[in-house]
Symmetry: C2
Subunit: 573 residues, 2 copies
């Protein structure tokens, strides 16, 4: 049976950066060629990055994207990769409209070009806003093997392109993807790809993007699955990687063209001779990360890429001594190194001595920069001049801290991080322009109970490696407090976090209604209290910085509610 | 020919407020019945409000919406409106999925039910995210006349539902709408409705929503157009209104059912006897507002509804003596009355005496509340403690003001307004957490040159009415300055506003590229400077409060760009 060496180039593209992304293609194609690959598959929209949002509608951008494809074909040939079949994704714009497109490049030419058929328009996806669907499938024969292509969502749908390729006949299917990370998504992805391989009656090569883009993070996790559904190879998650796999395939000599499942199958022969027999390399199958390690990596990569792709070199944020800022600090040091992290302790009259000590201890453990700036004088001027009391007095402390961090950001060029967690955001337990200040919010999509779990996990990992656990034990075990008035505890205002997170998981993630929550055994008063807090906090959530999405219903692209909203869940019972 | 009296109920629904919106239906149906109407047509999704965004996906909300329809049918009958044919819009959710739906209610029952066919997914619309399209058209015969229905976008498309109704045969078409305001939109709407009436071979009754919903404002402007395209009646813009129109129609006695244009036409007879002949009332044709009056009304209604629908009773913001805060103040007083407006002058060391005087003069003219709070002490603590200089020192002044306003908001319950204009937002000439602080930004979508035009227009209107012009002449004529350093002028950092706004109009509104701008005669250096500022300011724009949209490309729902974005227009030349 003819052999073929396939490379999956799991790259980290940046949205809009056509020149930088094109360079990545040349670099990784060369690596693939050096590894002896015959085909290399880049992710969906690999030349433009994903998602390009309304840039799609900008004609000059689409033109530049099309130009980048032609330039890339030429550059690959000049770089000695002309004999390598290169699949790359880009934005096209023809007479029908913008297209989520991919090309096959070979010998300095475009030898196949295809537009995505199924356009997702749910969750984080808005592709009906941007793209027109394609109606053709380009199959190319390389070394006697017929290779078809489908783009991302095309494999999430029953029937359609994959079925069409199966009916028309192909020996191999390549699938460029930009599939954002979500907790445990791999549990869905692998069986899905296996099902589609069976439908195509051919192995399926699934290359995914890696890296952070605003609130999305792509996990890579590229895979190759056999026609029988068996996992043949898997790339590691959250890193750029070239996965090289040898396949030994029956050449079907397929020749059917024309309409299948309403799609037009076209064929082109590049070379019919099988490659001379060679010794295959063993296909690497990376172990998937544990759940906690996976989440940690997602948060680290999301943070690192947001900071670096936006041209920042350092971050600053408040070190309060509490668990949220401690976890954020550990993430920031893992993402950017200790020298890029500037912790600021900002004690007020209500700050406990253990808070200051825990903050300093955190900085010592991490080896990052640390300074202390009391906010007492600033707060006093506001309180005295405006006679502030109650909530106004509590909030001004948080706000003075936010402004202090922004001043340091302006003065020294750091990006400010907001350290709030998903539970706080859900119920609005944060101060707008206070702790909500920042350009990025690393743990925005992490529930409070999960914050503690991650802290414990990260410390245990350090111990396993014989390193100092980054997070002071006291920050993990002490009762959470905003310390905006004497003796204040989070539990004064909120149910206990395990209970609160359980309700939020049902109400926010599960989208369950009042009656469902009651049936799940929560008491009526607590349900009422929690869902009222959640419904009322939409405006605060909108003003919060972006942060890495790790769940199905992240507060960002995933959950789009009106601010002016007369609906109160449960009122109609 | 049979006569029919039609009422168009141009109501101001609130998203999610099913109980309040249902009450509006009962109240306005009664008014229609009292006016002798046989049919009353409410806007699209009149029971739920529009747009309900991700509430659409919440099953309990869809259930409550369906329940609200049945309850409304019963309540209308109980209120003595059973003999009135009532068209109302709502959210349905059947086995296929959520639907943008409308019903015909009569005699306490649902006698027609239809789902929107064409789902817009561009600009501010995301209907592919939410709805499944309908495939049926329900025609009811009332007093011998056959009445068909189409929903909103269905009339913006060539062919489809209106053509189908024309082919099947109807005597009248009613069209519930939720069509957001945009400058000069009426110039498009009327010819469009006229074209569709011709296609339907019947008069078309177009009822539009009125009022503000987050960044959208609906202008009403409901119309009735004859089969010949002639405008028969028009409701006033931006106010709730019952438009009553007598029609005298040839009864076609249409009976074709089945498939037309791929849609299933179904018929139901409610009554075949024409109403006894009566004396028709003359149809009122409101004059459209002038361009400036229309924009002013949009801004006033958008602001008023945001404040009131979110449960606030008063607003506060900085009175700087400049034109932006003066225009915002005039709008706020027109929207909420002088007693609901709390102006705050917040002078710093760099504030000129004319700024303080102009601010005080503005408050005197408007008769609103006014206080002065120096920010000098607050700023000094920051500057001294952190040794702030340059941009950090400039920004801290704006931020101290923002925090001061938020403290007053917390203390006294006012909603804070941000007074920035579209030009500033476009180029990022504002301080995040400074002048960008607020819950709502009334002039967010108004270019600076337009701010001056509106100020002059509003003053002239006052003079026409023999009132004191609200805006001090000095605020209109003096050169704009942020007054964050001695002698600072906007023109130190920006091109002259008329030139800047011209470029922005082309680049933002017109989505034109670098080459187009060059061809339009702008000089290369200025283009470079402006588009770089615009491209870099996306993060700031995202953090800005919502504000009323009046243009095609408002900075809100209309323009959705990535923050992390390597694309720079013009770099590829």
């Amino acid at each position: 049976m003819p052999q073929l060496r396939i490379a999956l180039a799991q790259i980290n593209a940046t949205v809009g950066d056509l020149a930088g992304n094109a360079q990545l293609h040349v670099d990784w194609a060369k690596k693939a060629a050096e590894a002896g690959a015959h085909v290399v598959v880049f992710p969906e929209m690999s030349l433009t990055g994903y998602p390009v949002e309304d840039l799609t509608l900008r004609k000059t951008f689409a033109q530049a994207s099309c130009q980048a494809v032609d330039d890339l074909a030429r550059r690959l040939d000049e770089a000695g990769c002309g004999g390598l079949l290169v699949y790359a994704g880009y934005l096209d714009n023809d007479e029908v409209g913008p297209r989520d497109a991919a090309v096959a490049l070979y010998g300095g030419e475009v030898v196949g070009r295809q537009f995505k058929h199924h356009l997702p328009n749910y969750g984080v996806f808005d592709e009906h806003r941007y793209f027109k669907p394609g109606q053709t499938l380009d199959v190319v024969r390389l070394h006697g093997l017929d290779i078809g292509m489908v783009i991302c969502e095309d494999i999430w749908q029953e029937g359609g392109p994959v079925t069409a390729l199966g009916e028309a006949g192909v020996d191999l299917v390549v699938a460029p993807n930009a599939s954002p990370y979500e907790r445990s998504k791999d549990d869905i992805r692998l069986p899905l790809v296996a099902r589609r391989a069976a439908e195509a009656r051919a192995p399926l090569v699934y290359t995914n993007l890696v890296g952070g883009q605003d609130d999305l993070v792509f996990d890579g996790d590229s895979i190759v699955v056999g026609a029988d559904g068996a996992l043949l190879a898997r790339a590691p998650q959250f890193v750029e990687h070239l996965l090289v796999v040898d396949l030994d395939l029956p050449a079907g000599g397929h020749s059917s063209e024309g309409s299948f499942e309403g799609l037009e199958v076209r064929r082109r022969v590049l070379s019919s001779e099988p490659v001379p027999a060679y010794e295959p390399v063993p296909a690497p199958v990376s172990e998937p990360l544990s759940d906690e390690a996976e989440v940690w990596s997602a948060l680290v990569v999301g943070l690192r890429d947001y900071v670096q792709k936006n041209g920042f070199r350092s971050v600053t944020f408040g070190f309060s001594g509490g668990i949220d800022s401690a976890l954020t600090a550990a993430l920031a040091v893992d993402a950017l190194g200790p020298d890029a992290v500037y912790g600021v302790s900002m004690p007020s009259a209500y700050s406990s001595s253990h808070s200051r000590e825990d903050a300093a201890e955190l900085a010592r453990r991490l080896g990052c920069h640390f300074r202390t700036e009391s906010v007492e004088d600033m707060v006093r001027v506001y309180v005295d001049q405006l006679n502030l009391t109650g909530l106004a007095e509590e909030n001004i402390q948080a706000r003075v801290r936010g402004m202090l961090l922004m001043a340091l950001s302006n003065q020294d060029g750091h990006l400010v991080l907001a350290t709030g967690n998903k539970t706080e955001l859900a119920v609005g337990y944060s101060t707008i322009y206070g702790d909500a200040v920042g350009g990025f919010a690393p743990i925005k999509d992490v529930f409070k109970t999960h914050v503690w779990e991650l802290a414990r996990w990260r410390n245990a990992e350090a111990e396993k490696r014989g390193e100092v656990p980054p997070i002071p034990e006291n920050s993990i075990t002490k009762p959470p407090s905003a310390e905006l008035r004497p003796g204040q505890l989070d539990t004064d205002s909120l149910p206990d976090y395990p209970l609160l997170d359980d309700i939020l998981d049902d109400y926010v993630e599960g989208d369950r209604g009042y009656a469902d929550l009651l049936a799940a055994g929560f008491d009526a008063e607590t349900i009422d209290r929690v869902i009222r807090m959640v419904d009322r906090a939409e405006y605060k959530r909108r003003q919060y910085p972006v942060g890495t999405k790790i769940t199905f219903k992240a507060f960002g692209r995933d959950r789009r509610l009106p601010i002016t909203n007369g609906w109160r869940e449960g009122d109609q019972r």
